[in-house]
């Protein structure tokens, strides 16, 4: 099994066509899903006319920054966990030196990359906060009651690329090449899963917030 995973042809596969598939599905399906929700909102007649750009923007801004809203302040341990998790989840893959090198080799593009040490710490933080989220799903009664198997699945989907990436970087558990291939596979799986699962909240966040921010403004209040 290990020899199979380390096989160079497997590497070429996950490094070549699979990357294309993952990015095309991710981008294509995400555009489709956002467009679909927008069109449904348009059909519903009452949704789009209620949108107030200013209120929507303020609502998004208050919720996208830590402690910007009342609930972020009340539930500060969750706030810290979720912001550390999401910042690591989004920025580490984009500004990782090794990823930049891959893009440069493939497409000739690259941008600023963060120091390796920082990336390492952020990856570790994503792993730790994932575990905290998992514990919260099990031990917080109000969360446990509504936790289903696919909640654990989407947590796993975002957890394993970081775990395998961390283990590969430090050559732990499995030989570097084998762990790297697993890492790439998990990463591609995550990209594909985003538009198909509730990980789509990555885009829907802005749309649902815009709606509720506008609703609250319509009632003469605010939703943060």
């Amino acid at each position: 099994m290990l020899d199979f995973i380390r096989d160079p042809s497997i590497y070429n596969l996950v490094r070549g066509p699979f990357v294309w598939i993952a990015f095309l599905v991710f981008i294509g399906m995400s555009v489709y899903k956002v467009r679909r929700l927008y069109l449904m909102a348009k059909n519903e007649k009452v949704v789009l006319p209620s949108i107030k750009i200013g209120a929507a923007g303020r609502s998004i801004l208050h919720w996208i920054f830590p402690f910007g809203s009342r609930n972020w302040r009340l539930k500060w341990p969750v706030t810290i966990t979720t912001f550390v998790f999401h910042i690591g989840l989004i920025f580490t893959p984009i500004f990782l030196l090794s990823h930049n090198i891959l893009w440069y080799e493939s497409w000739g593009i690259s941008w600023w990359s963060m120091p390796e040490k920082v990336a390492d710490i952020m990856t570790l933080l994503v792993i730790v906060t994932s575990v905290i989220f998992f514990m919260r799903r099990i031990f917080a009664p109000e969360v446990r009651f509504v936790t289903s198997s696919n909640d654990l699945l989407i947590l796993a989907i975002s957890f394993f690329p970081f775990l395998t990436g961390f283990l590969a970087y430090h050559s732990l558990l499995l030989p570097y090449k084998a762990m790297l291939i697993l890492h790439i596979l998990f990463g591609e799986a995550m990209l594909i899963a985003i538009p198909f699962t509730r990980l789509a909240h990555m885009f829907y966040f802005f749309m649902t917030r815009a709606f509720m921010g506008s609703q609250a403004a319509g009632w003469g209040g605010k939703d943060w």
Partner: protein, 280 residues
């Protein structure tokens, strides 16, 4: 004292409640047919609309809405009172089973959405995504209403609105008579006080809540005194569309709800008033 008997949900063993007998829930489920339930659920919740899909496809089950709910906070943080739990136990389960639920499940849903949620929208203010949880609860209320499974008192108020356009079974005669009677009553204190009925071109039209002419008539005379002292050019509606307590809204009875609101605006347009003033 013997231990009180508790009701435990079949689907959700954590949902344990004291018995709460209500004719509107206990009797009305007896005639429900499975295909009727399925058809109603799919007609209301199965629709591919943005407000339903946005909640279904975004909610990450984080439980952060719990802290917003007065039911949750005042029930020792029982997880089955959290807003997200109420969605899980009603709308999500209905959709998961594609509407194939039995009458007992509808009764349990009705108890949750009518008697354990005040549709106050506070959970949306606490949700990181601002999801319209109340909207989903409202749709479940609509399903229960369309199936006739509604707490008796709420259903009675809805029937009253559907019949008389007010909450208290008042006829138009009762209403006009009450206004004139109150004008007479205050006459002993203020001889010039008038309660103008259907005065065209008045500045303000005042709408009471159903209970005011029925049981708290002194509200009427006090409002009249305030209007007189403040020198407001005011009037009340002469037609039977005068009650602003829109109880059908709480059942999501869209037809009656629409008639109530339309009646209030029709009066204002007919009498060419500038402002509508409501009690509340």
């Amino acid at each position: 004292m013997a231990a009180k008997e508790k009701i435990v949900s079949r689907e959700f063993p954590e949902y344990i409640r004291d018995p709460n007998p209500d004719v509107g829930l206990d009797e009305s489920i007896k005639d429900l047919k499975p295909e009727q339930i399925e058809k109603t659920i799919m007609a209301v919740l199965g629709a591919q609309t943005a407000r339903i899909r946005a909640v279904m496809e975004t909610c990450i089950h984080c439980g952060l809405c719990a802290g917003a709910c007065q039911w949750y906070l005042s029930s020792d943080k029982d997880p089955t009172f959290a807003p997200v739990a109420k969605m899980k136990m009603t709308a999500w389960e209905m959709l998961k089973r594609k509407g194939k639920v039995d009458a007992e499940f509808i009764k349990q849903s009705a108890r949750i959405v009518f008697t354990e949620c005040n549709i106050c929208h506070r959970c949306s203010m606490y949700c990181p995504y601002g999801l319209d949880i109340t909207f989903i609860i409202g749709l479940v209320r609509r399903i229960c209403f369309m199936l006739g499974v509604v707490p008796q008192r709420m259903m009675d108020q809805d029937h009253s609105h559907a019949t008389t356009l007010n909450q208290v079974w008042y006829t138009q005669n009762d209403w006009v008579d009450t206004m004139q009677w109150q004008e007479e009553e205050v006459g002993a204190e203020f001889k010039d006080l008038r309660i103008p009925i259907d005065k065209e071109g008045a500045e303000v039209i005042w709408y009471p809540l159903g209970g005011e002419p029925k049981t708290n008539t002194y509200h009427i005379e006090r409002t009249a005194k305030i209007m007189m002292v403040a020198g407001v050019d005011w009037t009340v509606a002469g037609r039977d569309t005068w009650d602003t307590s829109n109880m059908p809204m709480f059942l999501r009875d869209f037809t009656t709800m629409n008639r109530v609101v339309r009646g209030l605006y029709d009066n204002a347009a007919r009498l060419r008033v500038k402002k509508m003033v409501l009690t509340e």
